[in-house]
Symmetry: C2
Subunit: 369 residues, 2 copies
């Protein structure tokens, strides 16, 4: 009775805003699941696009499983598999769609072949950064579109991490003008790779494990990866000496948790809420880890390994941005869902950047670094 | 048996990093609480420093309660009270310490009178922004210090929101040089207020409800509040026409969830983990909401209400930064815990800003806004 009165009070006080906030979540929770179902236990599998226990990203997947198990008191146990342990690393979307595993931790641009619009939920060249992607997805209508995009595949997506701004990559020669992109063989997946191709280079795809050897042997001239912490682990400084910034192709890459929709809706509501909260906790943790660790490794690369840190010239960034616009136009023209998603993305980007102009942009411009 | 093997496997594979990540959490969870305790129900109270259901911030408190109830299947129910409903708005620290309520949602600088170092866990003038504060607290050692600071009060703190960069405030006259601060009566609490005093003004404290009237009647010449969304709701544009940026005094204010430590440790571990996850989910939601809503209201203020948007001159920002340094030096000199906390804060700030110089700073500088 007391609870009923309290709910009634909240309702009367009109927290419509609060309710609206949660509209995206409500979409996937509007099902007939019971609030709790004690006694019934679940053993799930989570595949990942990362090597087993890969620093920060694979660890986030491990943490999601750990937190869900803790929060549910063991009612939902999730076994995490690194890429290749249960299925190949980049087949998570299909595997979870088919129910081979109930979850996948990865990044949406890996599924561009399934639906082009997935790319807008990972990272867009010259697009939004971590804080802005979170704002779009969580509060700006992004999540509802993402759910709409994944529903036909029987999947539910959730944001579950962000890399922050990445580095522009490792090059075995200087990039002084756009002519240096002519014939440049660069490892770069996704929309960024298409931009490199438009710029006169050739975008090469290679799995993580092959990049170093390809770079060392001159099979490729350049590669992007993530940022100083991970790039240091990969040893790229032994094969290329120019380390460029900024990561124009990935200004804030979202990592996602995807869940088989039928399996998710078959969970009692308390476990559904637990999964959402674990993803949210991972979301913040991953970005915090990147922010926390990158600088020390950047300094190590420069001071201990003689890496030459360079900024892409403005002329190069401007030209790449123009090509990025063309690449995005082509994706948007390719199907209706891409058009719809990008319209939302782009409108939000303009909105949030208006605010950034008097807030975060001014904050960063005042830093003496 | 399968679970044991899996744990063993993870252990052997050496995710020491993942375990280390969680060291801060472990600190408060190393107690003898059982993993689950079905049958036992908890009815808790959460007081807040905000008016009831205050947009974004009070809504976050409501959401934390809602999520905890959902996740726990009703085992932990939390009744949320707006400021003044159960106790006065700024007595949450004492009330939760005494066990009058089990939780408080607020901001740590409100408790400067209890322990000066609390201020470093909310916002520091010319300090870190939201992304950096999260990184420091979650991955840079901040949480362990915060827990150490609160433990003598029988409290456990958790980050549970961030406002992002705030605005610099509303002024009834232009600020062209430091001489304009002479005699300026400005409503500004905390460390920022001390900076205004050093600059020749006088920092006035007034509760939210009184600010508009004081500004309109000339009792004060200026006031800071939060940002365009909330400031618009307060109607300040009717009483002052100059709206200054950036919010040098609050570049990324953390909102916190504080929990009575004895009560927290009396919860079974699943409920402890649920409370932590709900706070983490609120952390991301609050910042997303600010990012999402501020620009539209900034445009409304300018275009519909004739507000004049102005940037503080560099000369003014530089002088305020110098005074901020003096204010911080005084706090640090005042007690050992402030010194210890600020040393960690400052070292992390330098580290993260090194990385910002090739990542977020470059991202924002490229925006055409």
């Amino acid at each position: 009775m007391e609870q009923v009165k309290r709910r009634d009070f909240i309702k009367k006080a009109g927290i419509a805003g609060g309710a609206a906030l949660l509209a995206g979540c409500a979409q996937s929770q509007q099902n007939n699941a019971p609030a709790v179902q004690t006694g019934k236990h679940y053993e799930w599998k989570m595949v990942t696009t990362w090597p087993p226990h890969f620093p920060i990203l694979g660890e986030a997947a491990d943490n999601i499983a750990k937190w869900v198990e803790e929060m549910s008191g063991g009612q939902l146990k999730i076994q995490v598999y690194g890429g290749g342990e249960l299925i190949p690393a980049l087949e998570g979307f299909e595997a979870v769609s088919a129910g081979t595993a109930e979850m996948c931790h990865g990044a949406a641009y890996y599924w561009a072949g399934k639906a082009a619009a997935t790319q807008f939920f990972a990272s867009v060249p010259f697009g939004m950064n971590a804080q802005q992607m979170n704002a779009w997805i969580i509060s700006g209508g992004g999540l509802a579109l993402w759910e709409e995009l994944y529903a036909p595949f029987d999947l539910v997506p959730m944001p579950a991490g962000n890399t922050g701004v990445q580095m522009g990559g490792w090059f075995n020669r200087e990039i002084n003008s756009m002519s240096d992109f002519q014939g440049l063989k660069m490892r770069m997946p996704g929309l960024g790779g298409k931009v490199v191709s438009k710029a006169g280079g050739s975008a090469v795809l290679s799995a993580g494990a092959e990049i170093f050897t390809n770079l060392e042997r001159g099979v490729i001239d350049a590669t992007e990866w993530i940022g100083p912490f991970h790039d240091h682990l990969m040893g790229f400084y032994k094969a290329a000496k120019y380390y460029y910034y900024p990561g124009w192709h990935e200004p804030g890459t979202v990592t996602e948790l995807i869940v088989n929709k039928s399996a998710f809706e078959g969970l009692p509501k308390n476990l559904q809420a637990i999964v959402r909260a674990a993803a949210a906790r991972a979301n913040t943790l991953v970005l915090a880890e990147f922010e926390s660790k990158n600088n020390a490794f950047l300094q190590t690369l420069i001071n201990d390994h003689g890496v030459i840190l360079k900024r892409f010239p403005d002329e190069v960034l401007n030209a790449l941005q123009k090509y990025a616009g063309e690449v995005i136009d082509e994706v948007v023209a390719s199907d209706a869902m891409s058009k719809k998603v990008y319209a939302s993305f782009d409108a939000f980007r303009k909105n949030v950047n208006g605010w950034a102009g008097v807030s975060e942009k001014v904050y960063y411009s005042s830093l003496s670094t």
